[in-house]
Symmetry: C2
Subunit: 294 residues, 2 copies
């Protein structure tokens, strides 16, 4: 795993350097807006989505430089959704990634607008990605747009909000988790694969991998919310219980939740069979996400 640690650190650097190039500098007019965008993007995220995107590109035989703008797009989209989730009218969170949330530093209006601009930037970055014979840049935009929209990312957020204080059936909880988390993880690997001219079979395998890893990821997130401290997580822990959210631990208990996350991770790894050796990094990443403690 020390090899993986180095790999993650090296990938983080590549992604951070690219994000720094893609986001207008803090001095660009209007300066406050660009500072606010940079505050949240460079608050120390783990860059899981862009790292998964790059790993999927390589699993399909593609190059990092063709996938990097798609990779950064997934991080911009993820960061925008965090900024908006943290707003007072949503989860009203003060801390994120171990630093004060965007609206605590820049005010609500600026945080709202920084999130809006990061969503637009995500689409700009995907539209700039070179198309391939199997996948036009427009097809990549369509992939991101559907995931970002009312049926997935935003839809999952709404279902999550509406589920507060209720005990959701497992099927509804899956809708929330697939929309909030699994959809964007899946799109991250698919955007990497598309930049590498992936075949239909590779796309299907990565879809299955992404959905299973994404659900496992969210189950682990819910477990950590119960078992870890806010300090360790860099965000408020115990929020799910406080807001009476339905979660896997709440519905089936911690042990059964851990078992489900294991089962999903195994399914994710099986989906990678057709990649053989080239799927090693993706397998390592799925295991890492399963075993993380923050």
């Amino acid at each position: 795993m020390s090899d993986l640690k180095e790999y993650l650190a090296e990938r983080c650097q590549i992604v951070d350097a690219a994000l720094d190039r893609f986001i207008p500098s803090a001095g660009t007019r209007p300066a406050t807006l660009h500072k606010a965008m940079r505050h949240s993007v460079f608050a120390g995220g783990k860059r899981l989505r862009p790292i998964l995107c790059l790993a999927a590109a390589e699993a399909c035989g593609g190059a990092v430089e063709n996938a990097i703008s798609n990779a950064c797009a997934t991080e911009c989209l993820h960061t925008y959704s965090l900024i908006h989730d943290d707003l007072p009218c949503m989860d009203d969170d003060d801390m994120r990634r171990g630093v004060p949330t965007c609206h605590k530093v820049y005010g609500e209006a600026m945080a709202l607008l920084a999130g809006d601009a990061l969503q637009a930037l995500a689409f700009e970055l995907v539209a700039k990605t070179p198309g391939t014979p199997n996948h036009t840049a427009a097809a990549m935009v369509l992939e991101l747009a559907r995931t970002a929209g009312s049926l997935h990312l935003v839809g999952g957020q709404v279902a999550d909000l509406e589920g507060e204080g209720k005990k959701l059936p497992l099927e509804d909880l899956r809708f929330v988790h697939e929309g909030k988390t699994a959809a964007l993880l899946t799109t991250s690997v698919k955007l990497g694969a598309m930049s590498a001219n992936a075949s239909t079979a590779q796309m299907q395998a990565l879809h299955d991998f992404g959905m299973a890893t994404g659900l496992a990821f969210q189950i682990i997130d819910d477990i950590l919310d119960v078992t870890q401290t806010s300090e360790k997580l860099g965000k408020s822990a115990g929020k799910d219980v406080a807001s009476e959210k339905s979660t896997y631990p709440a519905l089936m208990g911690l042990d059964a939740s851990r078992a489900e996350a294991h089962r999903l991770t195994e399914a994710a790894n099986r989906a990678l069979d057709l990649f053989g050796e080239k799927g090693t990094r993706l397998r390592q990443l799925a295991d890492y996400l399963l075993n993380r403690d923050y």
Copy 2:
């Protein structure tokens, strides 16, 4: 002008029918979200941006059916920006297009998310537009993304907020107006033209037309805010004075502002010279925007 009135009514119907097809039905899960999106989109907007988009496509010899998803994208993007502008942390407006604003009906969180989903939908619709030999769908996405982002639409909004209570120099006011209004009007005509495989000369002409008409449009908006009632406008009048915003009327008086809007509209119409007869609708639309009283 009675001919123009019929034309506008007919175009409104085409755009509304397409929006109704493109936005998930009010019963689609999560239902509240889709109701909130539809509340604002179908609140009776004048559909100026999509109508300009379709008129530009026709000026370039293109067909309505190739431009319609781009046209609807401009309306989705515009509506999202209105929903977010109206939020309590921004302009805190209760009425828009003559009906209660999204957050007054659905609450702040749902309005925030409805806006977010409409932005994603705008990009989905552009990515779906058929590309042409001169313009790929990805190039169209890039056009919309740059306009929607931190340097134009969102940037103009920030500069507008930061200018409250200050007397901005005319140059800064232009930055606000170009970002908030002229950029999206320009992109609307350009997206129509791109769907019609416009030449470089046609694109440049429509860029000049859009920027001039867009600035004139915003000056007229500022004039109407001073001279008309809230009832007539369907939104709160007199807000610019109340929030001490810099506007053309505040900086140069009503008469000089009207003269500037006239000058810009003439410049816009001159830019259309290379379209000859085919530019007639665009010229009529520019004159209509100049002479409107709401």
